[in-house]
């Protein structure tokens, strides 16, 4: 676990530096688009460690000064597939955002949706040395969580303490300073494929940028799309992206589960492309302009010219009714939603007090999705848009930017993770100087 600590803490340091410099870039590496936002941290509300969560969770402390999106290249299922292509796409987005912001950014916080996230619930318990909880005790109880064997080639992306229990009182969000004898904690651990992270790291390094943070896209889109009471009472955020559909479940303002389905809008597009015998770009365009999920009688009469460039008149003048288009799209969307339903069931979403489901991401803009989703996922479905943040251009306020906006919020106010606490002394390497200092401190 120690090298994880090291790398994550290095990223936290990097984030601190970026905050000091005042400018940080947000990079959402998606399958269909790569979005880059440039944030300037000079708002009225500056960060202060002592005050904890400030009003609006730090949102007013930054403003977006540059935003750019580019068509994603070389990314499949939210994972980097062709590195050179992806690097170029990242360069395009970063350069355009820098140009808009007219400032150079060196630090970037990135999110990706693929890499097969897997959630683990951990718990640990310790006896307190004194009869109140100190900072050190929190670190010790976090360290006491027994880490499951998540397999080689997996990397921990998030490890967030979700709940603390002191003796028989549970549901504490911050146990520090409280009186008790036994401290227990629940932790949510999210692992992803290590090679995906490494590829992303390599791409970002090739763009002369420093990585100041990594987040999983389901988590950050949940942060931006769920309103506060949804996060508190329990809700799932479904981000219908291009290559993956990701899912995160929140309760008590903590993410307790995240998963992703390797199906998304691109599959709908490719279905249209195959079904109508058109190019992928035409299919994408037809999908965004005329796509839908619920056919009505009107749709039989609405004919769409699907065109072509062959020079053959008959081929180039083909038309298709909107009903046919809906007939192609609907089964795929149903499949995606069924898959999500299965994941939600597996996660035990039924047991949450509130079972709100928020659909966000570019795919959630298909007309009629809310009706279809409520038939598959349950009655409490709504379409979600990301929170408004200061300075965000109108073009980047749609649900497709849920994870980019969520990542901005994450950058402004990251949740405490395991590595934000001190490593307990007994976890230090045996001959560490720090351990010696700790020993002296404890004994005198």
């Amino acid at each position: 676990m120690t090298d994880l600590y090291q790398s994550q803490r290095a990223m936290r340091r990097m984030r601190k530096q970026a905050m000091d410099r005042g400018v940080v870039a947000i990079l959402d590496v998606g399958t269909s688009k790569i979005a880059c936002l440039v944030l300037r941290f000079d708002g009225p509300e500056q960060f202060s460690a002592s005050e904890g969560i400030t009003s609006l969770a730090g949102q007013s402390s930054f403003r977006v000064i540059g935003a750019a999106t580019t068509r994603s290249r070389g990314v499949r299922f939210g994972e980097i597939d062709a590195m050179q292509e992806t690097e170029r796409a990242i360069r395009t987005a970063v350069q355009a955002a820098q140009k808009m912001a007219n400032v150079r950014v060196d630090h970037v916080i990135a999110a990706f949706s693929g890499a097969q996230p897997r959630s683990y619930g951990l718990d640990g318990m310790i006896e307190l040395e004194e009869n109140f909880v100190s900072e050190d005790d929190v670190a010790r109880v976090l360290a006491a969580c027994d880490v499951p064997d998540f397999g080689a080639g997996r990397e921990v992306l998030h490890a967030q303490p979700v709940n603390f229990a002191l003796d028989n009182r549970s549901g504490l969000s911050d146990p520090r300073g409280q009186i008790g004898n036994k401290l227990a904690c629940d932790m949510h651990l999210l692992t992803v494929d290590a090679h995906v992270i490494q590829n992303l790291l390599y791409c970002i390094k090739r763009c002369d940028l420093e990585l100041a943070g990594l987040a999983s896209a389901p988590y950050v889109s949940g942060v931006s799309s769920l309103v506060e009471d949804e996060q508190e009472l329990g809700a799932a955020c479904v981000d219908l992206g291009g290559g993956t559909t990701s899912l995160s479940i929140f309760i008590k303002k903590h993410m307790i589960y995240a998963d992703s389905v390797r199906l998304g809008g691109d599959h709908v597009t490719s279905d249209i492309s195959k079904g109508l015998q058109v190019s992928l770009s035409t299919a994408e365009r037809i999908k965004t302009l005329f796509g839908g999920l619920v056919a009505t009688g009107m749709d039989d009469r609405e004919m769409i010219e699907i065109g072509g460039d062959t020079g053959d008149y008959e081929h180039d003048r083909r038309t298709v009714s909107r009903a046919e288009l809906i007939g192609i799209m609907r089964p795929r969307v149903e499949e995606i939603l069924e898959e999500i339903r299965a994941r939600l069931d597996a996660a035990g979403f039924d047991h949450l007090p509130s079972q709100k489901i928020v659909l966000t991401g570019g795919g959630s803009q298909i007309p009629g999705l809310d009706g279809l989703a409520s038939r598959i996922l349950g009655q409490q479905v709504r379409l979600g848009r990301p929170l408004r943040v200061q300075g965000l251009p109108q073009a980047a306020t749609g649900p497709a930017f849920a994870s980019a906006v969520g990542l901005s919020l994450f950058a402004a106010h990251p949740q405490d993770e395991w590595w934000d606490f001190e490593i307990p002394a007994e976890r230090y390497p045996a001959r560490s100087l720090k351990r010696a200092i700790r020993w002296f401190k404890d004994n005198w």
């Binding site: 580019t70 068509r71 290249r73 170029r88 796409a89 360069r91 395009t92 970063v94 350069q95 355009a96 820098q98 140009k99 007219n102 400032v103 150079r104 763009c207 002369d208 770009s281 035409t282 365009r285 037809i286 302009l289 005329f290 009469r301 609405e302 004919m303 769409i304 010219e305 699907i306 065109g307 072509g308 460039d309 038309t319």
Partner: protein
């Protein structure tokens, strides 16, 4: 119902399907790096300020490294200056001297060696004024360059008030005792009173006061003699002499005049009137007068004794 079946179904045709996707070509690695470099504030400042400043300094230094070029520049600058100064507007053609007698203006022309025409930039009026003021006959000089290229010199001459017969001959002095000029012969300025004696120039104002006080006997005064460089003797004709004290000489002179008026003292056969002791004026009679005086006394005594 009938109507509805007859109406052909309205079919909307949507055609705006096939527009090409927006192009956003990826920048090359080099272009990306250059772009980022360009956005670096320090680099921008260097390029906007540092580079031009460096280039200017470097090029100037390179140009001036050669001695010949430096000299050329200096000569060029001087030439430009010269031509500017020698424009006809700045040239002084002649000198006009006002308020000076012929001799003084000749002197001035002699001590100011100016080659007309000369640029007014080359004239140092203050120096010239000091030179001119150095002349004995000049009390005050004013110089300015008048329109039309004329150097106007206005002189206040020292007016001679007395003739001083000194060791080296006759000299004219002004009211303050300052030298005006030499004098060839006393008869050249018979209107001025004559003073003589060691350090006579120091007492010129007093002498003039004494002369003013002695105006009733003006036609009898030959001159004033400074005695011991401290007090005045008034020399009258017939060898008479009025010896004035060191202080209060004017008062003493007035007293002499008063005595003269009352008793016609000076018309008598006196040699000196000594007023050096103010409480004891002393008269010295001439030898003949004294003999006569004795005779008179004897006669008076004889008359009395008879």
């Amino acid at each position: 119902m009938q109507q509805m079946t007859r109406r052909a179904p309205r079919i909307e045709r949507r055609t705006d399907v096939d527009t090409p996707p927006r192009r956003d070509p990826a920048p090359t690695r080099l272009a990306y790096r250059m772009n980022r470099l360009w956005l670096t504030p320090l680099f921008r400042a260097m390029l906007h300020v540092g580079l031009p400043v460096f280039l200017i300094i470097f090029c100037t230094g390179l140009y001036l490294a050669d001695e010949g070029r430096r000299d050329g520049l200096v000569t060029f600058a001087q030439d430009v200056r010269r031509t500017l100064q020698e424009r006809p507007e700045f040239m002084v053609e002649m000198m006009a001297i006002d308020g000076a007698s012929q001799e003084v203006s000749d002197d001035i022309r002699e001590i100011l060696p100016l080659d007309f025409p000369i640029s007014s930039f080359d004239l140092n009026l203050e120096d010239m004024r000091r030179t001119i003021s150095g002349l004995d006959a000049v009390a005050r000089a004013e110089l300015h360059i008048r329109a039309g290229g004329v150097l106007q010199i206005t002189i206040d001459e020292r007016l001679p008030a007395v003739v001083w017969r000194g060791r080296d001959g006759l000299e004219l002095l002004d009211v303050n005792g300052l030298r005006v000029s030499a004098l060839g012969a006393r008869s050249d300025r018979p209107d001025l009173p004559l003073i003589a004696g060691e350090g006579a120039y120091e007492g010129v104002p007093e002498a003039l006061d004494i002369l003013a006080a002695a105006s009733p006997i003006e036609d009898r005064i030959r001159g004033l003699v400074r005695v011991g460089a401290r007090r005045w003797d008034v020399v009258l004709d017939r060898g008479q002499r009025v010896m004035l004290p060191e202080t209060g000489a004017v008062r003493a002179m007035e007293r002499v005049i008063a005595m003269d008026k009352a008793e016609e003292m000076l018309a008598r056969d006196l040699v000196t009137v000594d007023l050096r002791q103010s409480d004891r004026p002393t008269l010295r009679m001439s030898d003949g007068a004294f003999e006569q005086y004795k005779q008179i006394k004897i006669i008076e005594a004889g008359v009395l004794s008879r």
